[in-house]
């Protein structure tokens, strides 16, 4: 263990800012990070042990205890539940004889829950030793556990054929399906690598930025900041080195479009990073990839290698003197909040993924204190098309304020879940028709848990920055779903699980609000409880980042649009009720003293 740790430390040049990579390698090798290893790392990097531990304990996929030779991470998102996760989870517990959060006594299998793994179109899904298993059933669980017990290798445990497209690539070999349902200019497979690079090296960086600005493209992650402006700020910022980050940490439950781009169009994405690098004057690009997509690692590294060989990356790219740019992949380790750009940068620096205070913004002081652009996967892909076809062409799609197309990740109760590329301006009704709704639709979650839950009277609203802004996730709920129990409660649990814990508001309030919801669900609610949720939810607006600021949205938007669901659960006979339950409160003592509760 000592020798291996030293080797890893050497590999990363004893650089403290590469702590994430160091920990990932050790976690992968041993299934956990032992206290002996922590001691070695701390001494080597001149850190205290608690300092190393604070990074380790932040991330879901790091552990200081053995997680089993086979660690199974079963997604617990709302859609997974809708698709039968409970049955699958029960099967896992039955077949292994352990509960979630435990490891079998022989150390063979560990069972864990995890937040959305980007497979909402093929749930229930799990990650086992960095491989994805989709569309699980109780039967399939039996097979998997049997295979594990028989000592089969993970690669040989797939009984179904591999997925479509590059999922069959020898370096991927995954059962994941792309589920591309509608192609537009971004997903268009007719794309020739390197054309955009050839074009930009004949332009000045300012001209590239001007073209991007002219296209009016805005960030596709959800916040919608104008991309050209971001690049310009970064170009004009002072710093001896500049960085381009691609944010491939799509963790918003219900989002999986980046997974599809990374599988089918990684070259387009990397070219987009090169374009951004040229425009901004950056020499290094970092793809921050969520750990859940580790199954794509070898495939992506291979593509980067090929790009270097063709001089799309490297020194004096395509003969342009002084244009040096290369890309490395930085893995996360399981933390939704790292999708926030400054948290992502902190994480890439080897620290806890806690968002930074702003100002300063990353374009001024980002990665290693240097000017940094953080762009979404889809944004960077779109930019290549803008360069190839011009800003005017791009503006011909969508609306005046929301130009271009948008990739939507659609899941839930519909016939064809998957990725759809549509022009902005599509209404929710259009989308429901497009995906083939099954039965009556009760509600649609637009933009994931941090977005809003809307009902049929708002299905005529259109997607776009001027109306329903979204990073592209839409989850459809049929009329048979219990929105409060199945959706809102699950989303609140998600926010509680994924808070970094730094801001008081986001660390404490979501739990308080969830308890209020549970009180209402337990038929102990009074009108004041709804008012309390509305009033208290507002305090989250004082949180530092988008996660905290929107953590009450599942409750607030469902109260706004589905108030009747709450009201019909309230007690009519009582004006006041604290929710205190005497028989529940004396249960423990009665058990200990063997008494019959005579209350």
């Amino acid at each position: 263990m000592k020798k291996y740790t030293q080797k890893v430390l050497d590999k990363y040049h004893h650089d403290k800012t590469r702590l994430m990579d160091i920990l990932i390698e050790i976690q992968s090798e041993y299934g956990y990070i032992s206290s002996e290893v922590i001691t070695i790392i701390a001494q080597d990097l001149n850190m205290s042990e608690v300092d190393v531990e604070q990074t380790i304990s932040f991330y879901h996929f790091f552990s200081m205890k053995p997680t089993g030779k086979f660690s199974i991470y079963l997604n617990n998102s709302a859609v997974a539940n809708m698709m039968g996760r409970n049955e699958v989870a029960a099967a896992f517990e039955k077949e292994t004889g352990i509960k979630f959060g435990e490891t079998t006594p022989d150390g063979l299998i560990g069972l864990y829950e995890t937040s959305c793994i980007g497979m909402n179109d093929q749930e229930p899904a799990a990650i086992i030793n960095n491989r994805i298993f989709t569309k699980l059933t109780a039967f399939r669980v039996k097979e998997i556990i049997r295979d594990i017990k028989e000592g089969k290798e993970i690669e040989k445990m797939f009984s179904a054929s591999f997925g479509d497209g590059a999922n069959r690539n020898a370096l991927v070999k995954s059962v994941v399906s792309n589920n591309i349902r509608k192609i537009g200019p971004i997903l268009d497979p007719d794309y020739k690598v390197g054309e955009a690079i050839k074009k930009i090296i004949k332009m000045t960086p300012e001209e590239v930025i001007a073209e991007v600005k002219h296209s009016n493209i805005r960030g596709r992650g959800g916040a919608g900041f104008p991309t050209g402006l971001k690049w310009e700020f970064c170009r004009n910022a002072e710093g001896e080195k500049k960085y381009i980050f691609c944010n491939a940490d799509e963790g918003e439950p219900g989002t999986f479009k980046d997974r599809v781009i990374l599988t089918e169009l990684p070259r387009l994405l990397f070219e987009g990073m090169v374009v951004a690098g040229y425009a901004v004057g950056a020499s290094e690009g970092i793809l921050y990839l969520r750990y859940e997509y580790k199954y794509l690692e070898n495939y992506l590294e291979d593509i980067l290698k090929a790009a270097r060989e063709k001089n799309y990356l490297g020194k004096n790219i395509m003969g342009k003197n002084g244009f040096n740019f290369d890309i490395r992949i930085q893995f996360g380790a399981g933390a939704y909040v790292c999708g926030e750009e400054s948290a992502l940068i902190e994480s890439a620096e080897g620290k806890r993924g806690e968002p930074r205070d702003r100002p300063p913004f990353p374009v001024e002081k980002g990665y290693l204190e240097m000017p940094t652009v953080v762009n979404n996967v889809e944004t960077l892909c779109s930019v290549v098309k803008v360069i190839l076809n011009g800003g005017d062409w791009y503006r011909s799609f969508g609306t005046a304020d929301s130009t271009g197309t948008k990739l939507l990740s659609i899941s839930g109760d519909c016939r064809n879940p998957g990725v759809y590329e549509v022009a902005w301006g599509f209404s929710v009704n259009d989308i429901l028709e497009m995906v083939g709704k099954s039965g009556n639709v009760q509600a649609v979650q637009v933009g994931g848990p941090s977005g809003s839950l809307i009902g049929p009277d708002e299905f005529n609203r259109t997607l776009g920055y001027e109306d329903l802004a979204t990073g592209g996730s839409l989850i459809i709920f049929g009329e048979h779903r219990d929105l409060l129990e199945d959706v809102v409660l699950n989303f609140m649990e998600f926010f509680i699980e994924e808070s970094c814990g730094s801001c008081s508001t986001c660390r404490i309030l979501p739990t308080v609000l969830k308890q209020k919801l549970e009180k209402i669900l337990n038929a102990r609610g009074i009108a004041q409880d709804i008012a309390d949720i509305e009033n208290w939810g507002k305090f989250l607006k004082a949180s530092r980042c988008g996660l905290g600021q929107t953590a009450a949205n599942p409750l607030l938007t469902s109260i706004k649009n589905f108030r009747h669901l709450y009201e019909e659960k309230l007690q009519t006979a009582k004006e006041y009720d604290t929710g205190f339950d005497l028989s529940a409160a004396v249960k423990d003592a009665c058990e200990v003293t063997h008494r019959i509760p005579n209350i």
Partner: protein, 182 residues
């Protein structure tokens, strides 16, 4: 119109808040002129004999009896006041709240250093004894409480000011020095 009627009780408290009420010194004579006491350990009236205007609650709820008394007070009194930290947040008795009840009872009756002769390892369970709750509850998490007077105990001046303000209908004076949590 008769004098306002006041009732008081100590639930899971130490009677320190009642002592603090007595600490208003000679103003106690004024108080007796202003109000009439009903159920209270001060006059040893054990049962409510009429509806009351103001109920002063010391202590939180640690067992089933506390809950019944508190609910009774809520029914009998127009205004209920949490007096002191225990009523407001459980106070020192609530320091057991993180510890499972089994451990608490075993420490008290079986394993504790002061247990001498419990060779049969009996934890008292006579039906007459109130049943302990899983944790000590602040009063307002059981019933609606109208006002809260913090302190351990609340300063005598705070209790006095609060009572006078309620009785006279005047606004309560809250000088910085009188509102303290210890």
């Amino acid at each position: 119109m008769g004098k306002p009627v006041v009732a008081t009780t100590s639930l899971a408290g130490c009677f320190g808040c009642h002592m603090s009420l007595l600490d208003i010194d000679e103003r106690i004579l004024e108080l007796i002129d202003l109000v009439e006491f009903n159920k209270s350990p001060i006059n040893d009236i054990k049962k409510f004999t009429k509806k009351c205007d103001i109920g002063l609650i010391e202590g939180g709820c640690c067992n089933s009896e506390n809950v019944h008394v508190l609910k009774d007070f809520r029914e009998q009194c127009k205004i209920l006041i949490s007096v002191g930290e225990c009523a407001i947040m459980g106070g020192l008795p609530a320091m057991r709240n993180g510890i499972p009840i089994k451990e608490c009872l075993e420490e008290a009756y079986i394993n504790g250093p002061t247990v001498l002769n419990n060779t049969e390892k009996i934890i008292p369970n006579d039906p007459e004894i109130p049943i302990m709750l899983n944790k000590v509850y602040p009063c307002h998490e059981i019933v609606k409480m109208d006002y809260h007077l913090p302190g351990c105990p609340p300063r005598a001046d705070l209790i006095w000011e609060a009572l006078v303000a309620l009785i006279t209908g005047n606004e309560m004076k809250l000088p910085y020095e009188v509102v303290k949590f210890d």
